[in-house]
C-alpha cells in the first residue's frame, strides 16, 4: 500500500471506523511499514481522545470500584491457584522423569540379552517380537492418570515460568499454608502409635495395680479373719481351762 493510501486511512482509523478489510491492511502497515506516518496518526489520536471531554461527566457508583477490586481479587486467586498447580506439576514431572530414567536403564540392560537369545535361536527369531515399552505403558504407581501426551509436552518443552502473580498488597491475599499436608505421613503415624502404646501400657498397669490391690485386700482380710478365729479359739480354750481349774480347785477344797 502506498504512503498516500495509508495517509487516507489515518483519520478513519483514529476514529475507529475502518471497515475490516482496510483495518487489516492498516494494522499490517503499522507493523511492517518503516515509513508509517506515526506523527500524523498520533495527532489524530490525540484529537479523537479529546472528544469525551465534551460530555457531561457521570461518576460511577462506589459499588463499581468494589466490583473492580473483587474482579481483580478473583483474578489473583485464579492466578495463584494456577501458579500452585504449575509448581505441583513441575515437582511431579521431576519424579516421573527419575522413575522413567530408572526404567530406561533396566530396559537398556534387557535389550542385548534378548537380542542375543534371538540371534542364537534363529528359528525362534521370527516369532519373537520385542516390544519396546513406551513411556506411557510403564506403570507408575501414583501416576496412572499421566498419559504420554502430558509427559512429552512436559519434558520436550522448556519449563514454563509460573505465571507471575499480578496482584500485590490489598488485592493479593496471602495463600493459607497447609501445614498439615507438609507433615510427613510416616512421622504422623509413628506419633499416633506411640500414643496408643503408651495408653495401652498405662491401662494395663492400672489394671494390674487394681488386681493386686484387690488381691492384697482379700488376702489381708482373710488373714485377719483367721487370726480372729484363732484368738477366739484361744480365748475359749483359756476360759475352759480356767473353768476346769476352778472346778478342780473347788472339788479339791471340798474334798
Amino acid at each position: 500500500m502506498s504512503g498516500l493510501q495509508v495517509k487516507d486511512l489515518l483519520q478513519a482509523k483514529a476514529l475507529g471506523c475502518l471497515d475490516p478489510e482496510e483495518d487489516e491492511i492498516f494494522i499490517k502497515c503499522t507493523n511492517e511499514d518503516e515509513n508509517f506516518p506515526w506523527k500524523e496518526y498520533g495527532s489524530y489520536q490525540k484529537i479523537v481522545s479529546c472528544m469525551p471531554a465534551l460530555l457531561e461527566i457521570e461518576i460511577p457508583d462506589q459499588e463499581v470500584k468494589d466490583k473492580v477490586s473483587k474482579i481483580l481479587y478473583d483474578l489473583n486467586e485464579k492466578l495463584t491457584s494456577e501458579e500452585k498447580s504449575v509448581k505441583e506439576d513441575e515437582s511431579d514431572e521431576g519424579i516421573v522423569i527419575e522413575e522413567l530414567e530408572e526404567d530406561k536403564d533396566v530396559e537398556s540392560q534387557e535389550i542385548p540379552n534378548l537380542k542375543e537369545v534371538a540371534a542364537e535361536k534363529k528359528d525362534m527369531a521370527d516369532s519373537i517380537s520385542f516390544k519396546k515399552r513406551k513411556a506411557s505403558e510403564i506403570p507408575l504407581p501414583g501416576f496412572e492418570n499421566l498419559n504420554k501426551e502430558t509427559f512429552t509436552t512436559q519434558t520436550d518443552k522448556p519449563k514454563k515460568k509460573p505465571p507471575v502473580s499480578i496482584v500485590k498488597k490489598e488485592f493479593k491475599e496471602k495463600p493459607v499454608k497447609n501445614y498439615s499436608s507438609k507433615i510427613p505421613v510416616g512421622e504422623n503415624l509413628d506419633g499416633r502409635n506411640k500414643n496408643k502404646l503408651f495408653l495401652i501400657a498405662a491401662v494395663t498397669f492400672l489394671l494390674i495395680t487394681l488386681f493386686l490391690l484387690i488381691f492384697i485386700y482379700f488376702k489381708f482380710s482373710s488373714d485377719i479373719e483367721s487370726n480372729k478365729n484363732e484368738i477366739e479359739n484361744l480365748k475359749r480354750q483359756i476360759s475352759s481351762e480356767v473353768i476346769n481349774d476352778k472346778v478342780y480347785s473347788n472339788n479339791f477344797s471340798n474334798a
Binding site: 475507529g16 506515526w38 479529546c50 469525551p52 465534551l54 473492580v68
Partner: protein
C-alpha cells in the same frame, strides 16, 4: 486525593507495571469518571457500562506490560481502549454483526490501541483545561461533519455502515471523515 497533583500518569503506570494496587486505585479514582461517561455514551445500559469499565481496569492490570511508557500517553490509550471495548460489547450484545471470537489475540490486536509514540503527552487535567478550546474547534465543523464523527466514534459504525445508513456513496463518507478530522485538528491547533 492531594497526591494526584504530584504523581503523573507515567509515574502511576510505572507503579502499576510493578503491580502496585494503590497505584491502580489512584488511576481508577482519576480516570473512572471520564471513562464511565464515555462508556455510557456508547452503551447506555448502566449494568453493561459498569461491566465494561471493570473490564478496562482488568485489561490495564493484566496487560500493563503491553503499555509502552516511552510515549507516556496513558490518557489517549485509556480513552481509545474504553471506546473500543464499549463498541465491541455493544456490537456483541446487539448480535447485529458477527465478530471474531473474543480471544487474547483479538484483544491485543483490535481492542488494545497502538498509540503513536510521536505525540506529546496528554494528561486528563490538560484536556479538561482545554475543554472550551476543543469545544470551539468542534463547533467550527459543519453539522454533517459532526454527525459523521459521532456516528463513527460513539455509535461504532464503520465507514461502509455509515454510507449504507445515510444512503450516500462510501467515497463521500470517507472524504467527509478525512476532512472533518483534519479540520478539527487545524481548528484546535489554530485556537492555541
Amino acid at each position: 486525593m492531594e497526591d494526584n497533583k504530584i504523581i503523573t500518569d507515567s509515574q502511576i503506570m510505572h507503579k502499576i507495571k510493578e503491580y502496585d494496587s494503590k497505584a491502580l486505585e489512584e488511576l481508577y479514582d482519576r480516570y473512572s469518571p471520564i471513562l464511565y461517561t464515555l462508556i455510557r455514551k456508547i452503551v447506555p445500559d448502566q449494568t453493561v457500562a459498569e461491566e465494561v469499565l471493570a473490564d478496562i481496569f482488568v485489561i490495564l492490570w493484566k496487560k500493563s506490560k503491553h503499555f509502552e511508557l516511552s510515549n507516556e500517553n496513558l490518557y489517549t490509550w485509556l480513552i481509545i481502549l474504553a471506546r473500543n471495548k464499549a463498541v465491541d460489547r455493544k456490537i456483541r450484545d446487539s448480535k447485529l454483526k458477527e465478530l471474531p471470537e473474543y480471544s487474547d489475540d483479538f484483544e491485543d490486536e483490535i481492542i488494545i490501541p497502538k498509540i503513536s509514540k510521536s505525540i506529546d503527552p496528554v494528561e486528563l487535567t490538560k484536556v479538561q483545561a482545554e475543554k472550551e478550546k476543543f469545544e470551539g474547534a468542534m463547533n467550527k465543523l459543519t453539522e454533517a461533519q459532526k454527525y459523521v464523527i459521532n456516528m463513527a466514534f460513539y455509535d461504532g459504525k464503520t465507514q461502509g455502515e455509515i454510507a449504507s445508513e445515510l444512503n450516500i456513496p462510501l467515497t463521500t463518507v470517507k472524504s467527509k471523515i478525512q476532512v472533518a478530522l483534519s479540520n478539527l485538528k487545524i481548528n484546535f491547533v489554530s485556537g492555541e
